[in-house]
Amino acid sequence: MAFVPHTASDVSQMLATIGAGSIDALFDEIPANLRVGGLPGIPPALSEMQISRLMERRAGQDAIELNFIGAGAYEHHIPAAVWQIATRGEFYSAYTPYQAEASQGTLQLIYEYQTMISGLTGLPISNASLYDGASALAEAVLMAVRANRRSKSRRILLPRSVNPRYRSVTRAIVASQGIELIELDFDAATGRMDPAALKAYEGQDITAVVVPQPNFFGVLEEADALTDWAHAQGAQVIAVVNPVSLALLKPPGEWGEAGADMVVGDGQPLGAPLSSGGPYFGFMCCRKEHARQMPGRIVGRTIDADGKPGFVLTLQAREQHIRRSKATSNICTNQGLVVTAATIHMALLGPEGLERVAASSMANTQQLAERLTAAGFELAFSGERFHEVAIRLGQDARGVLARMADHGVLGGYALGEDYAGMDDVVLVCATETKTSEDLDTYVNALQASV
């Protein structure tokens, strides 16, 4: 732990220098109702020894080895070389290393990252990352409003089968900007959007439709039909995808007749450990004609005056130093280190490796679903899935999950947290990290816990 002292006399000296009478006066600008006295679970100042103890105890909560929770963050095997390389000082010590005067190494890495993400999503333009998948979706909504000049409505169709966290972050970011987010229900039997449910919006002015694939329930949406429907209404399509799934599924750039217009998602499954929730990174791709509306920067490969290849910032139309008040790049600065890891991860796996990860994750989840149904449990949805499945338990899922934890198994995510009427449904994910024995352990732990 770094030792950063600020004694009472340091503090009063700093306050005197800037002419503030007290810490309270310093934060006077912030309205009182926005200031929080204390945070739950965060104790007041502790000694170094006390804080070490506390953190060790809390780290222990992550020690349960068999993790079957997905719900937006996925456990995959990360080759040891990934973070060994990513944490070299050259990569992680430089401040804003993507600037024009940046090292060629960082620019080349971003170029390769953009090339790989473009390859996965099937759209030609990728930015250099955003904070996470949720903020990437919010930015895609804002970008759709900027890019779709035909639509005046600023209405976005946002299915309830999109990750609830993504929806709440998007709402928080765009709701006060005159943008209307309209929720669309899912079919209770299949778990996917019912294209018929869209009928109500036929012929209306809609700016964009968000299409999750797979959706939050792990179920595969009818992406082709949804894309074509949206385009027929003059709406753009924002795809929300899991990048690992793209090794198997059709890239969003090829959905329907014309393909999705924007693709966003969380890059965590590509080499970022779960780390109790972060840092992760968001990715974002778009069509060439919308490149100037996209937050962030694009690195290109070129040839210098001596004919030698080099990497440059080709497009930075929405950087602060260029767009000032209209800049959007402030929301994507900077997940560079996680992106570095993801790029190394993808390079080490290669397309075949990524496909094997995706295929065995899907096969393991399928296996688990079969063993669970054989054991008498019911699947909540009939729709086809990628590597996550919703199981109906017939009793409150939260209690069951707590008992499973006592058996050393993190059994999944209780969908009742976000969806009324689904208190007895648990969302389970089995990635390639799970063995056949692990799946048996899961079934046994579940049976012992219901």
Binding site: R149, R292, A317, H321, I322, R323, K326
Partner: protein, 130 residues
């Protein structure tokens, strides 16, 4: 020294305006403005048929190191935009008062243009900006 043609009107925000015979106005950015921005790489033109109030941002000129809004000099409706700028934004650098025009406006009030700066006042304005 920037070129400031005497027959045009100007805005403090560096747009130039030419009164056409049919009463419409052609709008671009001044020689001074294009020189400040440097080599343009993109011009975002307004939509034909769109209406703007005087002072509304209605186009964007973008160089490698800057992007600036272009403002409607007077209230009006966009009659036409310079489609050629999509492929050759450098026309704004090369011929700011000719091939580099950006859009044409039908003014809501034909007299409004008279209130804009004349060449001498605009020259004094850019000199005062240093």
């Amino acid at each position: 020294m920037s070129e400031v043609p005497g027959e045009l009107k100007y805005c403090q925000s560096h747009e130039w305006v030419r009164k056409e015979a049919d009463g419409s106005l052609t709008v671009g950015i001044s020689d001074h403005a294009q020189a400040l921005l440097g080599d343009l790489v993109f011009v975002e033109t307004p939509e034909v048929g769109a209406s703007f109030a005087a002072g509304d941002a209605c186009a964007v000129v973008e160089s490698v190191k800057a992007a600036s809004d272009v403002y409607a000099p007077v209230a009006g409706e966009v009659l036409a935009v310079n489609e050629d700028l999509a492929d050759s934004p450098e026309a704004v650098n090369n011929e700011p008062y000719g091939a580099g025009w950006i859009f044409r406006l039908q003014p809501a009030d034909a007299a409004a243009v008279d209130a804009l700066l004349d060449a001498a006042t605009y020259t004094a304005h850019i000199e005062s900006e240093g």
